[in-house]
């Protein structure tokens, strides 16, 4: 940060200038630091229980510790990493830049969202330090509301508070995208990333309150012994599952839609092509966002819900697979007649397509009623959703971080090292999670701190893969931090990319653009393009 030009990073160096900032770019960096720290907290828990599962007898930690570890992993990764990561880091940084605005519509509320997020995380992690919670991230009743002797209330309150961060962030994005687009930036000129964040914001606003309410009711039942979910008091335990999945299934799409938005930026840039079937990809985004609200019951095929509900939810789950397939096909077709370069972000994007495809296809097994009855609550499910959330969302998040890092930091990281890390993550990921499909079909249930010996060989593969994966995740942490201070200057547009965010300097000035941009071109205007 030695250059004389003023930009958002050198606009102030005091703690106060960061902690009270209203600049969306600085808030994005606050989120980046927070979710990265939380990712490694959740990851450490995973390392611990993968080591435990190396042997069938479970000698490393006590059963109750094991249960707290996988609960911690799930809660942190879902509520405090996967849900917020892409929207709050990349979304916060990029939405105003991509639409040519100087900030989000409500900068103060944006800062409030971060504080709510931190307060929620502090509550949830504080509960962990006090002794933890052992209900699983799903908080199924009546175990969570009556039987568990752990810190359930503090944890659910943490998630409750963090939920308001999601809701406010969603509102902020919706208003910003509606009201603050640059002249000429019509709806169908928006980059897919903006569309994806826009659709995700609606899910934030519509789904999160249901989770907040459900968790509040769990807290009330624990503290005041109201009979809501506990059958001994006249409650209905299945009601909780309906409430919970009414949020948590859309949450899967909250985690994956922004990731798809990232991929829709990376593929055109490194193919020098307009995104194939732009309109179809936009429509598919909204198809997913809408249908995502109608499939929650597919988590409950064997729960005791009626057979008729099972039939309906199974059918709708097949329908929601269609828009996801549309996206994969359109990304693939974008490569056709392209001019493809394999920089680090592109490797993540290609890896994403492969892993997301496997995740999506194995999702069909789970949507199929007769097969789900066997694989439900086994490692098959674990493998499936990690292919979507880690193979999909985390790969896309890392791809996006690598793609926009020169814009965020103004610096370039060593691309060769980045490519190696991407390959390492891809290999480690598959070694970790592919064997879990097999051990799941063999019948190994999830959340077992010990298991029959016939499952061991697959668990050894998984643990070996997890150690490679852990190394793969540490590498970018190292070289990105290094490049932030010591990396070579990246220039304003190192990828020769289209899009408004590349038309301002790197790092961008505090007000984003020196002169208000006017848009007179279609998105992804790469035709005949060479690299910069």
């Amino acid at each position: 940060m030695s250059d004389a030009r003023a930009h958002y990073l050198n606009a102030g160096h005091s703690m106060r200038s960061w902690l009270l900032t209203k600049d969306h770019k600085r808030i994005a960096l606050l989120y980046l630091a927070s979710v990265t720290a939380l990712f490694f907290v959740g990851g450490s828990a995973a390392v611990m229980f993968r080591l435990q599962l190396l042997t069938p007898h479970g000698h490393l930690v006590l059963p109750e510790t094991y249960n707290k570890l996988f609960t911690l992993h799930g809660i942190v990764m879902v509520f405090f990493f996967l849900v917020p990561a892409v929207p709050t880091v990349l979304g916060n940084f990029l939405i105003p830049l991509m639409i040519g605005a100087k900030d989000l519509a409500f900068p103060r509320i944006n800062l409030l969202s971060w504080y709510l997020f931190i307060a929620g995380a502090a509550l949830a992690l504080g509960a962990t330090l006090y002794g933890g919670v052992d209900t699983g991230w799903t908080f199924y009743t009546p175990y969570s509301s009556v039987f568990s002797n752990t810190y359930v209330v503090a944890t659910v309150m943490g998630i409750f508070v963090a939920g308001f961060s999601s809701i406010l962030t969603g509102l902020n994005f919706i208003v910003t995208i509606h009201k603050m687009r640059a002249p000429g930036l019509r709806w169908f000129r928006l980059p897919l990333f903006v569309w994806a964040i826009y659709a995700t914001s609606f899910m934030f606003v519509l789904a999160t309150p249901v989770l907040a309410m459900a968790l509040l009711l769990v807290g009330l039942e624990r503290v005041l012994h109201l009979g809501i979910f506990n059958p001994a008091l006249g409650g209905d335990p299945l009601l909780f599952q309906h409430f919970f999945w009414f949020y948590s299934h859309p949450a899967v799409y909250i985690m994956v839609l922004p990731a798809m938005g990232v991929i829709s930026e990376l593929i055109p840039c490194f193919s020098r092509r307009r995104l194939f079937g732009y309109e179809f990809v936009v429509m598919a985004t909204f198809g997913i966002a809408f249908l995502g609200f109608l499939v929650w019951g597919h988590h409950m095929f064997v729960s005791g819900q009626s057979a008729f509900a099972g039939l309906v939810f199974s059918f709708l789950s097949f329908v929601v697979a269609v828009p996801s397939a549309i996206k994969v096909f359109n990304w693939t077709a974008t490569l056709y007649k392209g001019r493809i370069r394999f920089h680090t972000p592109m490797l993540y994007a290609l890896g994403f397509i492969g892993l997301f495809t496997i995740g999506g296809l194995t999702g069909l097994f789970l949507a199929t009623l007769g097969v789900d009855v066997h694989v439900h609550d086994t490692y098959f499910v674990i493998a499936h959703f990690h292919y979507i959330m880690v193979g999909g969302s985390v790969m896309a998040y890392l791809g996006g971080i690598h793609y926009w890092w020169p814009k965020i930091s103004g610096k370039m990281y060593p691309d060769a090292l980045g490519r190696w890390a991407a390959v390492l993550i891809f290999v480690g990921f598959n070694l970790t999670f592919f064997p879990q499909f097999i051990v799941g079909y063999l019948g190994m249930p999830r959340r077992f701190y010990m298991y029959p010996p016939e499952f061991q060989v697959y668990n050894v593969f998984s643990t070996a893969g997890a150690s490679i994966l852990a190394l793969g995740y540490l590498l970018p942490l190292g070289y990105l931090l290094w490049s932030f201070w010591y990396g070579p200057d990246a220039g304003d547009n190192p990828w020769g990319a289209s899009g408004l965010e590349w038309k301002t300097s790197s790092p961008p000035p505090v007000r984003n653009f020196e002169t208000k941009p006017v848009v007179d071109e279609e998105p992804y205007d790469y035709e005949g393009g060479r690299y910069g």
Partner: protein, 314 residues
């Protein structure tokens, strides 16, 4: 190294069939997509001399094709999956019944002659068996990989699972719904026996010299005086022979299918649903029966008047 679990039920081989079909389908589409990406990546890499003229921005027929074809295939898979599911949900009327009670962290199973086991379940080969399951605390799930079946087990509610074993042997069952500290130790075994051996095993559980009548539900039905009002003719309450699965007309004009949950509700809260033509005079049995006795009584009512209430059959 095993890739699929042992197979020991009729439905299991149908599930496996659909599973392998899905594997083939997935492998085909994954290879198609990966192959296409790989081909494009090599052909159109920067520096490669390829025809890049007139790249298409969109192609409507192509989009419609890759919407329609996968969707059509998926409809087929959906249909087959639904078929199996409905089969799994519909026990044959002649299935022999076993009561399963789950609690943290053990399984108790009880044959209809009263013979009970912990973390074990003996069943005859080739005959359909129906489990009537309930939990005494949190939600559990009864999972037999070799049968390719599982069903959550809920407190204060009944769920069922049925199967026809096809292989003699011992097969593991698990609790597959997380239920707290001892979740991983809620493991047991299903022992599938030849029918003759099974009858012998069943009879061997009876203490010598004990009265002939061992069905705990039947004993309760008499001892609690149910039979006084629920007589076949001229009773003060509706007759209960063959009640299970029948559609009952209620006094408010609604109808309800008499399933396990309805039977239990009518024992505990008789006033909740009054059968048309009968007075609301039955006292509540809430608190008069242990949860286990409740289950035994419901299990008995399910078999009452169907010719199956006296197990074992010859």
């Amino acid at each position: 190294m095993r890739f699929v679990p042992p197979l020991a039920s009729v439905i299991g081989s149908q599930v496996d069939g659909l599973f392998w079909f899905l594997c083939g389908l997935s492998a085909f589409f994954a290879a198609l997509i990966a192959g296409t990406i790989l081909f494009f990546c090599i052909r159109y890499r920067e520096g490669a001399d390829a025809d890049r003229s007139h790249p298409p921005p969109r192609n409507l027929p192509l989009e419609l094709t890759w919407i329609a074809i996968p969707f059509a295939i998926m409809l087929g898979v959906y249909w087959r999956g639904a078929q199996l599911f409905l089969r799994e949900r519909k026990p044959p009327p002649d299935a022999q019944q076993v009561l399963v009670v789950a609690k943290q962290w053990m399984w108790k199973t009880q044959q209809s002659n009263g013979r009970a086991e912990i973390n074990e379940l003996h069943v005859p080969l080739g005959r359909p068996t129906k489990l009537l399951m309930t939990s005494q605390d949190v939600i559990h799930s009864f999972f037999v990989p070799a049968f390719r079946l599982k069903q959550d087990v809920l407190p204060d509610r009944y769920t069922t699972l049925w199967f026809t074993p096809t292989r003699v042997g011992e097969f593991r069952f698990f609790c597959s719904q997380y239920c707290g500290m001892g979740h991983a130790s809620m493991i047991g075994r299903v022992v599938v026996m030849r029918p003759k051996d099974f009858e012998k095993w069943l009879a061997s559980g009876r203490t010598p010299g004990a009265p002939q009548e061992q069905d705990p539900g039947r004993i309760l039905f008499r001892r609690k005086g149910c039979v006084a009002c629920h007589r076949k003719v001229d009773g003060q309450g509706p007759p209960l022979e063959g009640i299970f699965g029948k559609t009952v007309l209620l006094s408010d004009g609604r109808t309800i299918v008499a399933d396990e949950d309805y039977l239990l509700e009518s024992i505990l809260y008789p006033a909740a649903k009054i059968v048309a033509g009968y007075p609301n005079i039955m006292p509540s049995y809430k608190g008069q029966l242990t949860p286990e006795e409740e289950s035994q009584l419901v299990s008995y009512l399910e078999r009452y008047g169907t010719g199956r209430q006296k197990e074992p059959r010859p």
